[in-house]
Symmetry: C2
Subunit: 375 residues, 2 copies
Amino acid sequence: MTYSKLNISTPSLIINKNNLLSNINKMNNFSKKNKINIRPHSKSHKMIKIAKTQLKYGACGICVATLYEAEKMVENKIKGVLLTTPITNIKDKVRLKNLFKLSDSFMIVIDNIYSINFLSNIVKPLRKKINVLVDCDIMYIGKNKISRTGARSIKEIISLAKIINQNKYMNFRGITAYAGDIQHINNYNKRSNEAKVRYNYLKNIIISLKNNNLDPEIISGGGTGSHELDAKSKLFTELQPGSYIFNDVEYNNVSIYKSNNKHFSPALIIGTSVISRINKKQYVVDAGLKAISADSNLMPLPIEPTPIGTKYSFLGDEHGKITLPKSSKIELSLGDKVYIQPAHCDPTINLYDKCLILDENKSIKTWNIDARGYG
Amino acid sequence: MTYSKLNISTPSLIINKNNLLSNINKMNNFSKKNKINIRPHSKSHKMIKIAKTQLKYGACGICVATLYEAEKMVENKIKGVLLTTPITNIKDKVRLKNLFKLSDSFMIVIDNIYSINFLSNIVKPLRKKINVLVDCDIMYIGKNKISRTGARSIKEIISLAKIINQNKYMNFRGITAYAGDIQHINNYNKRSNEAKVRYNYLKNIIISLKNNNLDPEIISGGGTGSHELDAKSKLFTELQPGSYIFNDVEYNNVSIYKSNNKHFSPALIIGTSVISRINKKQYVVDAGLKAISADSNLMPLPIEPTPIGTKYSFLGDEHGKITLPKSSKIELSLGDKVYIQPAHCDPTINLYDKCLILDENKSIKTWNIDARGYG
């Protein structure tokens, strides 16, 4: 499939539906083959239609990162929503209470006694038990000592699990343990070595929980970059990959599989127009910092029909520069479209309210990015 | 005014209305004193209510960067909308035609013969003359040889102005000349020296136009960082500042005035919550790459009530880290709010659908970011 000469306004976010479905299908096959559940992280896409497609293709539920994502998913009858971020803001008590009211399968993580008390107060008047998991920080024990969220010692994890287990308004369902910092270690062996450190620690957490009669029914973690290693570790009951549905320039460079097999296909593309010509080799397009996230060390990548070796660089809030390779025999014209794969998919999709779904037959539909914006 | 203990969901975009109005007022006074028009750039805010406030405070019109911004402004009866980006995409002809139909004061720039033909075809059936300005690239002649949009020689500029002037569907209204690359040269004298190179070139452009009986009625350009220099140059009829209404960490560092006087006040703040505690000095908040734009070399800056010296760093898509200074005697608690000034205001506001307007009396209203999203 080529994108050339699509009749669209620019800049536009385009999802290549074939590649999207192929990626979802690939992860589903992996899940079946390795007998491990997949609860994909919807923070990558924030879209009801994609969440429903993931469930249809065998996902056991959907992860969310924000309260607003949780609300959108639950309102739209998505089952098994897991909120992977602790909520601590007093203002949000009513919103959380409503989520517990609306869904029996909704789950939330905590990493502190504060959050247990916070939840306990919310849930008392509801007369039902809510599903709680203990978030375990397995990033801090890595080489870079990055901490994000999560309880930070086995002692603390056991203590929190016990308190949840004894609370009459809470079901202790298990734990989450996500190593975000290893997902983008490009080399398979280096990533594997770094992952092993986390798995050893996670194994000890699980043994300690079992020894305390707190056998975790759910052990959730992992991501696109580590999913093969995570499955091999036999520690997780489910994985939370997000970016696999789109892939991006950052993941292009990650050797995800030991076999070095091709992994996922580019399904997320920004459509731009040439709005100014600098010279034969350099052109200005209408997509800058507001159309493609610039947080990555890697650059967004122009794809076909521009020749291999074409480069994109940021020219400010509204503009980007396209540089054709020296060897290029073609030139671009004003009004020409240039299609660009973002370096980092999650914050890029977050820039748009809607996206264009490009089907095999080149029909274009519009889907909303339902859960973008609003904290 | 302090932000402490606002009852808001997080992450949230907050506009401090006092500071916003004080900044708008300051630019209005500058405009009067220097007898130069201000046509503020709404790409910074994308909000109808702010555009209307700018007009109320004396602006002669509003600049827009995208077709969607133009549509939102024109639909809402904003007069004197100037689209500062050339439009070249065939798909957008209908949208542009509609804009010319709806507004007699709408103006657009071109930098190429392609765009003149493109516009000419749109406007023929409308039986009215549209307002066209020639965009002149005054960035390329600077030290960094950055080109964005704009015709790139006096010869080309004269040629385009002539063609517009002879076209029976077009009014040649003048030129635009924006030096985006000098706005953030922090030192006043260095910025002034770099600006002079552009002014000399711009002066020659204007003389050549006059010599060709193409006297430009409008000479539009300048920005927040250069507006004092631009006014002093006596070349422009109007300026296009955008970021002055919010200020940000990048502009904190720019010595805008020769007098070294204080310039604009921080009016744009991200409200976050502490969701995890790493240790006494380090905390995780719920605002990452999707809540604060990460394109700047500078870091977002925590403001009161956290102590001076508190630092923010990105911890990924959804998380940020707050580090208290070593000397700090206070600690943070889970659920505490931390308020952060973004490093770069324009792409940060673009991340939100709406913002909270905080008044002196601490009442909170919600305003839509009307023109965000959609190319």
